[in-house]
Structure formats: structure tokens, C-alpha cells
């Protein structure tokens, strides 16, 4: 009936990839009603030094979606608590809390999308822009020789790596590095090109 207690949201989970963190939960079903949700977070600081206070995420206050982008608020490498509650009209549920803490150090880091370009005898690489938290470690080598490394901080453009001699192939692979959590992704697939005209070569 009208006064039946509104159930708290269930199946609360986090999806965190490449330092983008999303909280999601199962919808609370109330026939013929629009259910709205509100999200709050609590960092280790709030737990240990601020009377276990919780902080609302205003972008996720009284929303109808069952997912919330919490990236901007999870901006320290400490353990966070997260909780969600439901509202229907004047009725309000208890808080549903994420089981266990979330620390961004556990985010999954995927290898960067990379395009290797041979422009004449110049070896270039174009990397996916993954946001300010990311740097790229690019390894490149002439086949059969030692690899060399270049750190790329600004990925939004075609970066010059080196010049190539005509003949042998030159290979490139890259990984991301996130200084804030001091972790790297695995390497991308290796791509090799040879010095020639202006077209780029893909490893098939």
C-alpha cells in the first residue's frame, strides 16, 4: 500500500575503467510511479576525521537513471564508501550501500588505441586522448634491435618518434601510465611500418 516501506536500491556496483568510475544499481519497481534516486559518497577522510559524514553528489540527486558518474568525486587514491537511496513522492527508502570500499587504484587500465604512421622516412604515432590523468609510454624499435622509449603527455596529435632508414621495418607499441595511482596498462598490439610514401601500414 501507500505506506509500505520503499525498498532500498540493491545490486549496487561500480564499473571503473581508465579512471572513469560509474556507480550503478538495480531499479526499485513501484507500479505506476516514477522512482528517483540520490547518491552520496564518503572518503576515508570523512570516515576518520569528519564524524563519518557523507557528501551528496548533486548531479545524481533525485535522478531517474540507475547509474551515476562519480569520477569527479573519486579524486583521491583512498577507500571510498558509496550509497544510494530511492524516493517516490514523499516516501523514501533506506540507504543501499556498496558492499566494501572502492579505491580508484583498482580501476582497469586498457591498452591505448594507437595508429602508427610512416610519413616518408619519419615514424609517427597517433594516440587516443584518454584525459589529463594519462601519460603514454611508447616503445619503438628497428626490427631486431633494442627498443627506445618516449613518454607522451599530450595525446591529442600526431607525435613524431624518429626517422627511419629505408628497408627494415620499425615497430611500435604503447601503454598508458597514470601517475595518480602509479599504475600502467598492458601494452597495445605491436604495429610495424617501413619507410616509404606517406601512407600508414597496419599489422595484419
Amino acid at each position: 500500500g501507500e505506506d509500505a516501506l520503499l525498498p532500498a536500491p540493491q545490486n549496487i556496483s561500480i564499473l571503473s575503467t581508465n579512471m572513469k568510475h560509474f556507480l550503478s544499481w538495480s531499479p526499485v519497481i513501484v507500479q505506476g510511479e516514477t522512482v528517483r534516486y540520490s547518491v552520496e559518497f564518503q572518503g576515508e577522510y570523512e570516515r576518520d576525521y569528519a564524524n563519518e559524514s557523507w557528501i551528496p553528489i548533486c548531479e545524481c540527486s533525485l535522478i531517474t537513471a540507475t547509474v551515476c558518474n562519480i569520477t569527479e568525486d573519486i579524486s583521491a587514491t583512498v577507500a571510498y564508501n558509496l550509497r544510494v537511496r530511492a524516493d517516490v513522492g514523499t516516501r523514501r527508502s533506506e540507504w543501499g550501500t556498496l558492499k566494501g570500499f572502492f579505491n580508484r587504484i583498482t580501476t582497469s587500465l586498457t591498452p591505448p588505441l594507437m595508429k602508427v604512421i610512416a610519413d616518408g622516412c619519419h615514424l609517427l604515432v597517433e594516440l587516443e586522448d584518454m584525459g589529463p590523468a594519462f601519460q603514454f609510454c611508447v616503445l619503438y624499435w628497428k626490427k631486431g634491435q633494442e627498443s627506445r622509449q618516449k613518454v607522451v603527455k599530450d595525446a591529442s596529435s600526431v607525435v613524431h618518434l624518429d626517422t627511419m632508414e629505408a628497408g627494415p621495418d620499425y615497430c611500435v607499441k604503447a601503454q598508458t601510465y597514470v601517475e595518480a595511482i602509479n599504475r600502467s596498462s598492458s601494452f597495445s598490439q605491436t604495429q610495424c611500418v617501413g619507410a616509404q610514401g606517406g601512407t600508414s601500414m597496419w599489422l595484419v
Binding site: D119, G120, C121, H122, L124, V152, K153, D154, S157, V158, V159, H160, T163, G198
Partner: protein, 221 residues
């Protein structure tokens, strides 16, 4: 006993703020609303955390709406406030203050100076960071590289024939791009980038240069 009592009912100067480029720190403001000509101004400044406001004599009873406080705010390990008061026909405004000014983080940086030279198959690029403002030409120059040691240059090289643009990110001041096409025009532009505090200049204008014609090209002409 003709003490003229200044009645502070003049509207206040507006938008009092520092405009800073390469730590040349100039106080700017707009005239009080509705006042035409004849308004005069006084300026004072304060080193944050130090007990007293200091008048700027060169900006006493001025009718312009700016005052160069570069000399007074040249220590970028300090932070500052400045304040302006307007006078007109025996009336005056309140003192209107800036927000707290931190020369290190609140200055804008000019693009680097770029000089390019070329050979048959390469171009050489020399970059020079702008200098910090200084009191007089005789004073020793301080490069912004010394103020922001983490300073880097983003360099763009455009092949005018293929229209392809390459990017280089370097910390030292010289870049040689080898193995280029002879007799081809390349245009170079550069930007300064500081990671913390986060600052970056605009891009310099483009400097174009052509690689020398190859020996074979010479023989054919």
C-alpha cells in the same frame, strides 16, 4: 578652518584586477558607473600577511585606469592585494580591492621565441622562453625557465606540400628535424606548457622556411 570633508558617496571603481603577462603585473579597473571625465584615482597595495597597506606615489591623483605594480609585486614567493579609490568634485568612493594575486599562478605566459634555419634535408628550431619582467634593462634577466623549471615546449611542424602536421614535445631548447624533403616549405609554431602549476602560453606565430633544393634539383634547373 576650511577642512573639506570628503563625502564618500561617489560610485566605486569597477572590475579592479591584476593583468599579468610574464610577471609584468599591472592593476586595471573601470571608471565608476555614470562618471564622465575628471575622475582621479589613488592606488595602494599590500603584501598578503604583512601588516600595512602601502601607497603607490606614482599612481596618486591619476586620471588613467591602470597602474603598473610590477616592481612592488616582483617577489613571486609572496602574494598581494591592491586597492583603488576614486575622487570627483570633492566626493570619493570606497577603497575597492582585488582578489588575492599570486604572481606564480596568476600570470600569463607569452609564447616562446622561435628561430628556424634549414639545410637541404633538415630544419633546426631554437626556442627561447620569455623573460620575467624586470625593473630596468640593466637588471639581470631571469628566464621563465628558471621560474618554472618543469617548463616544456610543444612544437608543431607543418609540411606545406603534404599539409601534414607533426608534433614534438621537448624540454630542451633546440630541435632538429632530419631527413626532410629538399626544396619543401615547413612551418613551425611552438607553445609553452607548465604542468604544475598548470599554465600554458598561446602558440607562437608560424615561422616558415624551405629546405634547400637538392643537388639533383640544382642540376636540372
Amino acid at each position: 578652518w576650511g577642512l573639506r570633508v570628503l563625502c564618500c558617496s561617489l560610485p566605486n571603481p569597477r572590475n579592479v584586477h591584476f593583468e599579468s603577462i610574464n610577471m609584468k603585473n599591472v592593476l586595471h579597473w573601470s571608471a565608476p558607473e555614470g562618471t564622465g571625465h575628471g575622475v582621479l584615482y589613488k592606488v595602494k597595495y599590500l603584501v598578503y600577511g604583512v601588516g600595512k597597506w602601502i601607497r603607490k606615489p606614482e599612481c596618486r591623483n591619476i586620471n588613467r585606469t591602470w597602474c603598473d605594480l610590477s616592481s612592488e609585486t616582483s617577489d613571486y614567493e609572496e602574494q598581494y592585494y591592491a586597492s583603488v579609490k576614486a575622487f570627483l568634485n570633492g566626493m570619493c568612493s570606497d577603497w575597492i580591492e582585488t582578489t588575492r594575486f599570486n604572481p606564480l599562478t596568476d600570470t600569463k605566459i607569452d609564447p616562446p621565441m622561435v628561430s628556424v634555419s634549414s639545410t637541404e634535408k633538415s630544419i633546426s628550431i631554437i626556442l627561447t622562453a620569455p623573460e620575467k619582467w624586470k625593473k630596468s634593462p640593466e637588471e639581470e634577466s631571469v628566464s621563465l625557465l628558471q621560474v618554472y623549471p618543469g617548463l616544456q615546449y610543444n612544437v608543431s611542424v607543418l609540411n606545406k606540400k603534404t599539409k601534414k602536421r607533426w608534433w614534438f614535445s621537448i624540454s630542451n631548447t633546440t630541435l632538429v628535424v632530419p631527413w626532410l624533403e629538399p626544396g619543401t616549405a615547413y612551418c613551425v609554431s611552438a607553445q609553452i606548457h607548465v604542468t604544475t602549476p598548470l599554465l600554458h602560453s598561446g602558440f607562437s606565430k608560424e615561422y616558415c622556411i624551405a629546405t634547400l633544393k637538392g643537388m639533383s634539383d640544382e642540376a636540372m634547373t
